[in-house]
Amino acid sequence: MIEQGDGDLVQQTLRGNREAFGKLVERYQKPVFNVALRMLRDDADAEDVAQAAFIRAYQKLDTFDRAQKFYSWMYRIVVNEALNLIKQRDRFERFKEGTGEEVADAADQEKEAGAEQEVRDQQVQEGLMELRVDHRAVIVLKHFEGLSYAEISEILEIPEKTVKSRLFTARTVLRNVLARKGIGRHG
């Protein structure tokens, strides 16, 4: 069976076929969820953001430029949704302080992460969370999604030169952060 192209599915969705949009969700839910997860760390937040990103995409589908790649457009939406949540969370953080829930969650996560790789994954994720959000976004798109400088530039709407400088700076910062956690220190 020939797989339908993204453009065809977008077209069908615009004609009122929601199942076509369902196919796009199926196709891109994994990368979209992973971008959200690496930006936010929390599974539940990542699922909320991924959901919000698909809903936004659906609402704005008539503005999608068919000359663009659908996945680039989707990445842009999910990164923006994640950045919005981070800003919003900062704003409301004071109402969540002192509950002890976050501490308990973190302790549970640590307990569950018995395997060495899981511990390391968690340390890398913690390292990512120490980066500035604009640096984190380029690292996520480059290293977890394997995108080129040009694609990241298109998604984040910044010049390629800025992508490179953010990426290189982010790696250097991450190198120091991970070294503190005992990962990758040489010499």
Binding site: Q11, L14, R15, G16, R18, F21, G22, V25, E26, Q29, K30, V32, F33, N34, L37, D43, D45, E47, D48, V49, A50, Q51, A52, F54, I55, Y58, Q59, L61, D62, E81, L83, N84, L85, K87, Q88, R89, F92, F95, K96, T99, R120, D121, V124, I139, K142, H143, F144, Y149, K164, F168, R171, T172, R175, L178, A179, I183, G184, R185, H186, G187
Partner: protein
């Protein structure tokens, strides 16, 4: 301290985009500066640590959540211009220059004629949370404050409104009251779903009031503005009952079911 230009070349090497001439420069520098190799190894370790973090599967509930929320949206109105031009676009797509020129001319004429209709139909696509079923439906746009419906309060001379706002984790009720006499407001909720994070009076900041069990009690002088911030523990429906008493008589009662169209 490694030269900035060399750091850039090291990063390009990691990304596999280093040019042959740049590689020569890097190798020369590397041969005489051992600290470059240390840095290269550390950057490679960072890249490797990131590469080792595997992709995780999306939650099995995600697609269902998206599709359920789409079903709660007003039916998307396909812009008339799109509907009319779509077959034309399909026909001309990828065709020769002459056909493209026809397509352009046709598109221009049709575009001008349909512009007004297009703008009109776009306005119908804006999603607003609705109160169609008596339940407040969360927009669930993570990260933003969604403004929900306003529930009016009207009982004799007692007037006011309960405003609702949501973020992806907070449910916020704003109770505004105007009354000739003192009132006692009682807000009850399901503590397995909601936790009271803060209660604010007007713009004065937190009141120090707290929930006792599943109830928040507020003594109002009659003209007040209270905002209660609830943290949602789960997406399950979280019913909130707002009741107002004047001299122990129940003068207003409203059950508000806060539900999120997920799971």
């Amino acid at each position: 301290m490694v030269d900035e230009r060399i750091v850039e070349l090291l990063n390009k090497e990691i990304d596999g985009v280093i040019l042959p001439a740049e590689r020569v420069i890097l190798e020369e520098y590397r041969a005489t500066n051992p600290e470059v190799e240390v840095m290269a190894a550390e950057l490679r370790a960072v890249a490797s640590a990131l590469a080792d973090v595997g992709q995780v599967e999306a939650p099995s509930t995600l697609k269902g959540r998206v599709m359920r929320q789409l079903n709660l949206q007003p039916r998307q109105q396909v812009p008339l211009a799109d509907r009319l031009l779509s077959p034309v676009w399909e026909f001309f797509r990828g065709a020769s220059g002459v056909r493209l020129a026809y397509a352009f001319s046709l598109g221009l004429v049709a575009g001008i004629a349909l512009f007004a209709l297009y703008i009109g139909s776009r306005d119908q696509q804006t999603f607003q949370p609705t109160d169609a079923t008596g339940a407040l439906i969360l927009g669930s746009s993570a990260g933003r404050v969604e403004v929900g419906p306003v529930v009016p309060i009207s009982s004799g001379q007692i007037k006011g409104a309960i405003g609702t706002q949501f973020t992806n984790t907070l449910t916020i009720l704003n109770i505004k009251l105007t009354s000739p006499g003192a009132l006692h407001a009682q807000v009850t909720f399901d503590p397995s779903v909601l936790t009271v994070r803060a209660i604010q009076r007007g713009s004065e900041g937190e009141t120090g009031l707290a929930a006792h069990g599943n109830t928040v009690e507020i003594q109002s002088s009659g003209n007040d503005d209270y905002t209660i911030y609830f943290l949602r523990k789960s997406p399950a429906p979280g019913p909130v009952r707002v009741a107002l008493f004047a001299a122990n008589d129940l003068v207003f009662e409203r059950n508000i079911t806060v539900s999120q169209p997920v799971q």
